[in-house]
Amino acid sequence: MNMKRNAAMLAGTITLFGTILSGCGGGGTVGQPAGQSAGQAAGQSAAAEKNSKPYAGTTLRLVTANHAWTDLIKPKIPEFEQQTGIKVNLESYFEDQLTQKLTVEFTSGSSSVDVFMMRPLQEGKMFIQNGWVGEMTKKDDPDWDFKDFTNASTGSLIQGGKLYGVPIVTEREILYYRKDILEKNNIPVPKTLDELKQAAAKLNDPNNGFYGFVARGQRAAAVTQFSSFLYGMGGDFMKDGKATIDTPEAVSAFKTYGELLKSYGPPGVLNMSWPQAIGIFGQGKAAFYTDADSLYPNLLDPQKSSVGDKTGFALFPAGSKGQTPYNVTSWSLAIQAKSKNQAAAWEFVKWATSKQAMTALQGKGIPGPRQSVWNTDEGKKSFPPELVNVISKSNELGKAYDRPILINVGEARDVIGSVIVTAISGEDVEKAAKQANQQFQAIIDKEKK
């Protein structure tokens, strides 16, 4: 072979390979643009220090979940950009992928995420303990008015007296029921779980494709909606570091939930998370449904539901030990501890959680955490009046968590959820609860070390 030709071919190959490699390199340094723009911002803000836009030129990376909140805030972001000169790059992911993505990015030590959406009860503890979440040091800003947030909504975000995130979406478990069916059969709205069981039994008519009760039956997804049953029976997930899911109270809660779905629920409930369950209720195939109040727009939307004008809302029924629905912050906004744009990130959080912004969002149907917004007509207008009452009552009664507060929530939910599955399948609940309690205790013990 010709020597020169070989050398030329080699040179070509090397160039090509080099191009590919540098392409990879470019993809790898995601953090760079943010860092650069921070430098730029420093330069520019020196000149604009006395202006009203101290952070003009900064670029923020906002990582969110696919959620109605994101859809509603998106069109408003240009307003914020105009007011402050800060550029916001928004990304959104399905919630499970969001946790995975953030965990991987934070573990790798990347500083490119500035502001992100966080579920305080799902990943909050893990993120905060790992030092990934920045403290909200400027929460005492009088214009912003931190005291306006309900205590229940901020409880899960305060650790060691420090605030690690700002609530944006809150949720309570309520009872959805079919007004027309109850009226026709002369059944009052159930106030206790016993009454609910009797009513569901009476209305259950599987031969005609109508069921007394529907709720989530999928292993991990069911745990949060089961929590209000557990509290109502006087149980809890854990107490003083001891797992308590095999106590008589917990077992009776598992049995109640399982019995309702097994005897009066639709077939295939073991595969149902909220989209399937609300689908059954929305298609007029069930009389009662328990789930989060924030799902109600799905039932009022005539394209998704045929029962919009027939749906009633009631306070979650009382168990043998009282009425304790969960009342939680399902989503919050947090700032990454390593973000290079802390001040600008706070500007964004302050703007997105201000009274005005929250009033506008709540006006579109997102139940928020600010008490003052609930007191305005604007804040209530998109909610059915019946639901507003239920929400404010639940705000008083509720417990601030709907799953055990741990670092490894995912594993704990699977363990607890498997007892729910056992109960719905009609198998030995005591045995399953005992076994799950041991596994659950092992998870708790591991985190204590």
Binding site: A7, L10, T103, Q218, G268, L270, I407, N408, T422, S425
Partner: protein, 292 residues
Amino acid sequence: MARWVERNIKYIFILPSVLFVAVMIVFPIGYTAYISLFEWSMSSTQAPKWVSFGNYAKLLQDARFWSALGRTFYFTLISIIVELMLGVIIAVLFNRKLKGINLFKTLFLLPMVATPVSIGLVWLLIFEPTIGVANRFIGMFGLKPQMWIASPSQVIPSLALVDIWEWTPMITLIALAGLTSIPQDNYEAAQIDGASSWQMFWKITLPLLLPTVFSAALLRIIDAVKTYDIIYAMTQGGPGYASETLNILGFSLGFQYFQLGYASSLLMLFFFLVLGISSLIIILRKRIEVLQ
């Protein structure tokens, strides 16, 4: 310089592929093997803890691992056996010169081309016990409505059914290629000797097709063992844990429980399992070729 290049040109030209394999295949596997020896929960405050083979020991005592392993085999076995039989039979039918067979062939290949996740979502609706088509369909034959993927005992066969629907066309495709390569003289000679078409199938077609079928089986078994997309899209391992295969379990351990060391040890075992199965099939195939 030019002389050096000249002398080593054969190594230099394979260098890019060697580098690629090293970076994209050898390194990830090596690193997985390395972290499988640690207990690491993806925490920034707690460093990975060296546990040597502790993760493997724990795995071998984990009931969830053994059930997942059993389910993986169960799923693979049903899918592969049915797919191979159906695939070969359909290939033999397609190999006849009939009118409009090409249109039929094209239509038949469609399931293989569709995106697995959307296949999963479509079958999710088909299997819906209350409103799904599957129960309507079996109802026409007077059968009782079934729970399909909502029942712990039916979920694996139901998922295998989806896999069969999706991947039988691939076996057919490979078998068709094998059929066209069988020389026609064999059949002519057999015809002269007065063989029936049944005899020709058993004595000529099947033996000559066997090596091709083995290749197809190898590809499908590896794929079926590591099926993830349709299972995750349809059941996420449920109801309960009834459809949790090794891959689904590995995903839960790694990305939902964040036990990276433990998940890695599972994946290493899984890796050797796949390696073992493929070697076994390759050896079997060689034996058969020798026999012929």
